[in-house]
């Protein structure tokens, strides 16, 4: 028997033992009715061809391995960025179990969200009763300062009216009349999680800003980060830079503490987040900056409607995007960028210069949310790399145009292809027909790494199979160092693996690189 008490083998080594190998081979042969091996290997080879690629890219209905999630996930993430706010998702309860698990698996942190637990009768009669009872229970049990309501597709299909339901619930005393219950309709069959983020943040702002007079405070800035799996590292790093610049700013939606609570014996259901009073005061800011345009289109329109100046970025990271962000902030706040930050910038440039030979001409496939893909493509071009495939399942034709403009701005972008609306099964074909050196994405990319042999650098939500990356920033010049190191480590580890065969390839197994 393969197992022992002294050296316990878990699944990875255990099932490599001969007893199991034989058992599984016999299972296949005797009971599985498999296709003949030759047929399977022929099909495997066929999936690597241009012919298969064309069929694959011509799909009109089937989606396989998409790189996007649904709206309510974004709404739940958004709500987690406000002080003592409980997310309340109106509709089927299973969805909420999924959002909570999804966020916990990435952040390795608690995620507290409630559901109105609608079932078949609510599908027939509407979910008003669920809303009335649900808000009362949430208010009493979880002692929130605010309950942020979003919807699953069930509630959207039957057409439940959140505004009316919440008013009803208040009339029935579920929560006090003046208790804040912002809401957002977040149909899963429209857009993706980045749109859910947008709707929820807008819902929160409307809740506090509507009907309130605005007294503009010159040179004050709101910052909306957008859906960001690296919010823990990024928000903290940006705050450090803004503090160095002595800017007057306020993060609108900040989940950096909520998704990074300490372990000291106490479970904090709520931690950090933008204070309710600060959300109210943020109406008076002169400017609102969004760090992710595609996450905040409606929200920024609303900010402009109330009279604020607004502008947006595409997940600014790397050198020039960070330069731009800081210069815009400097300009609108009339604060100079201090010498300390210029030195940080210089250190990033220094590191890029040190490593440039390993990065120049490397080809990349980048996938993820639209703003992230834009940002990464830009940074890769700064390192002399070539973004060969840029793919966003939730990318629009507007995004495609912006990407093409960006890529046309650099000689390193001239061979790039942009793939809006495509999924990771399409990318699999692309990686076979037009291969690259590195793949940048999230944990789902590991299947592409397995199938195509393209090394994967995990830099976007969700990252389930590596720990703690999100605790470090990607933004700012410090974040740039992190990005650079992550990519370089992948290149060096890969090179070492390829050259470590003793007596065969280890002449290139260099000590110094």
């Amino acid at each position: 028997m393969p197992q022992s008490a002294e050296k316990t083998l878990d699944h990875a080594p255990l099932f490599c033992e001969p007893e199991y190998r034989q058992m599984l081979a016999e299972k296949k042969l005797n009971f599985e009715c498999p296709h003949p091996d030759q047929v399977v290997s022929d099909q495997r080879e066929f999936t690597k061809t241009w012919e298969y690629r064309e069929q694959n890219l011509a799909r009109q209905a089937l989606v396989v391995n998409p790189a996007k999630a649904c709206q309510p996930l974004g709404a739940v993430f958004a709500a987690a960025g406000f002080e003592r706010t409980m997310s309340f998702v109106h509709g089927s309860q299973g969805c909420v179990a999924y959002y909570r698990s999804h966020l916990s698996r990435h952040f390795k942190e608690p995620s507290s969200v409630v559901s109105s637990s609608m079932t078949e009768d609510a599908a027939v009669f509407g979910g008003l009763k669920n809303m009335v009872d649900g808000l009362a229970n949430t208010y009493k049990l979880y002692n929130p300062k605010m309950i942020a309501v979003s919807t699953t597709c069930m509630a959207e299909v039957i057409g439940d009216d959140l505004h009316g339901f919440i008013e009803n619930a208040k009339s029935e005393g579920s929560v006090p009349r003046d208790f804040d219950v912002p809401f957002a309709h977040t149909p899963a069959f429209v857009g993706s999680h980045v749109d859910g983020y947008d709707s929820m943040v807008k819902g929160v702002l409307e809740n506090f800003w509507k009907g309130t007079a605005r007294n503009e405070a010159t040179a004050t800035i709101n910052i909306i980060p957008g859906f960001d799996g690296f919010c823990v590292g990024n928000n903290r790093e940006l705050k450090r830079l803004l503090d160095l610049m002595q800017v007057t700013y306020m993060f609108i939606q900040d989940a950096s503490d909520q998704f990074d609570t300490p372990s000291d014996g106490k479970f904090r259901m709520y931690d950090g987040g933008t204070k309710i009073n600060d959300v109210k005061a943020a109406l008076n800011a002169e400017w609102t900056l969004s760090l992710q345009y595609y996450n905040t289109r409606k929200t920024l329109d609303y900010c402009r409607d109330v009279g604020q100046a607004a502008t947006s970025f595409h997940y600014p990271l790397g050198v020039e995007a960070t330069d731009e962000l800081l210069m815009v902030i400097s300009e609108i706040s009339s604060r100079e960028i201090p010498e300390a930050i210029r030195l940080e910038r210089g250190r990033l440039i220094d590191a890029m210069a040190d490593s440039q030979a390993w990065l120049y001409g490397k080809k990349y496939a980048i996938y993820g949310d639209p703003d992230f893909v834009y940002a990464m493509a830009r940074f890769i071009m700064e390192t002399g790399g070539e973004p060969t495939h840029c793919l966003a399942t939730n990318g629009t034709s507007a995004w495609e145009d912006e990407m093409k403009e960006l890529l046309a701005s650099s000689p390193f972008g001239k061979n790039a292809q942009v793939w809006p609306g495509k999924d990771l099964w399409a990318l699999r074909s692309l990686l076979f027909t037009e291969p690259v050196d590195l793949l940048i994405g999230n944990s789902y990319g590991k299947y592409l790494e397995r199938d195509t042999g393209t090394p994967l650098v995990r830099l976007m939500f969700p990252i389930f199979d590596r720990h703690h990356h999100h605790r470090f920033p990607l933004m700012g010049y410090q974040g740039g160092l992190r990005l650079l190191t992550a990519i370089l480590d992948k290149i060096f580890d890969n090179l070492d693996r390829e050259t470590m065969h003793a007596g065969v390839t280890d002449y290139s197994y260099d000590l110094t690189r």
Binding site: M1, D10, A61, P66, C95, A97, S104, V114, S116, G265
Partner: protein, 510 residues
Amino acid sequence: MRLHPDFLRGRAMSLKYDNDSGFHAKLIADVLSQYPGKAAKRRSKHLSVATSEKDAGEDPNTISECEVKSNIKSVPGVMTIRGCAYAGSKGVVWGPIKDMVHISHGPVGCGQYSWSQRRNYYVGLTGIDTFVTMQFTSDFQEKDIVFGGDKKLEKVIDEIAELFPLSNGISLQSECPIGLIGDDIEAVARKKAKEHTTTVVPVRCEGFRGVSQSLGHHIANDAIRDWVFDKKDLKFEPGPYDVNVIGDYNIGGDAWASRILLEEIGLRVVGNWSGDATLAEVERAPRATLNLIHCYRSMNYISRHMEEKYAIPWMEYNFFGPFQIEASLRNIAKHFGPEIEDRTETVIAKYRPFVSAVVDKYWPRLSGKRVMLYIGGLRPRHVITAYEDLGMEIVGTGYEFGHGDDYQRTGHYVKEGTLIYDDVTSYELEKFIEGIRPDLVGSGVKEKYPVQKMGIPFRQMHSWDYSGPYHGYDGFAIFARDMDMAINNPVWGLYDAPWQNDRALAAVAG
């Protein structure tokens, strides 16, 4: 050091310990006092303390009585841990069938969040002849809601046939909108099955149906009955020792660690439902002589159907921990007569030294440790004796989506005074854990991080916390090691900053 469990010396008795009924009753009263009146009344029926066996009536296997209301609607707004019917069908029953494509039919989210999360291990070339760790969706858009999705579904099936020609069938896993907009996926299934000469199974597992995952299991079982059984002429020669393993989803390889034992005692596992299964294994199930049910909750329905229609008897078994493995192997062997029974005794004897070695190693580190469980399916009761095999004690347990028959069976396992909680809310679970301060909590990923923040060791008992297998003898060694590394990890001793402790400050001050 306490004595080993008695079974190692040939006397089949489990560990003896008591739980504090009075304290547990007070914990229940305390949490209920925090609810609004209506919710308190509803929740009170789901919480109880196991009473003595005398209250349990006639059942000779019963050691306690732990009846609570179950399988009814969750209270809105209380943070239930439950999932939905889609999770029960796609996530549990159908998803692991490896040579079929399972379409998450509707918007993108359901398939995305459940993609590759249940660790249903399988062997195959993913994307070529097997498809478990992939996310196939019809990715509904607004126009599909407005105009209906049947046309799109037809196209989805055609595209699967073209791009994944070695898939041996397709299941249509309905998400909430499908049932609400009145799509006729059954008609699509019939039409496309004929066109492509393949199996297409429509499953009406919309998430709003029922009150939890549980109805999804039932609907999924019924879909097998209605759309898979008796549809093909099977070329298969049955044998006298053919069994199906029902309700083992091969999480972390559980079904493999079980199969190796069943084969060792001389049985032929002709189908494993549904971990690492092919459609052929499901189709031929009615030819077996016996159905062995591991997860009763999720697959008793189809087993009862096979009993009625094909006269195949079924029996439950438990492969967690040596006490139950031995009892189950003997029970299974009895069905096949002396030859298999003899082989079984040889197998049990073969593993005894291994079991002793595992218990010897971990008993001193784990005995007397108190455990709280909150899981789904069969585990809230089945793993209890595996803990007890290591000298550990169960202070509380409960089911996400159990029914009355699960709680009745739980009485075969838990001691008097054990805290019982059905469809527990996060609020209740947190308060119970705070009150009891157990040495280990076994539950899911949503519960893991809050519990660990409180400084209490935790193991995920759905996914085996990315470890496993836990079934069979091979799995028991892993189970024991995992519980030890959780409980005896040095990190739990580092939670308090020493400068908040006067003695540590004094030591530094000299």
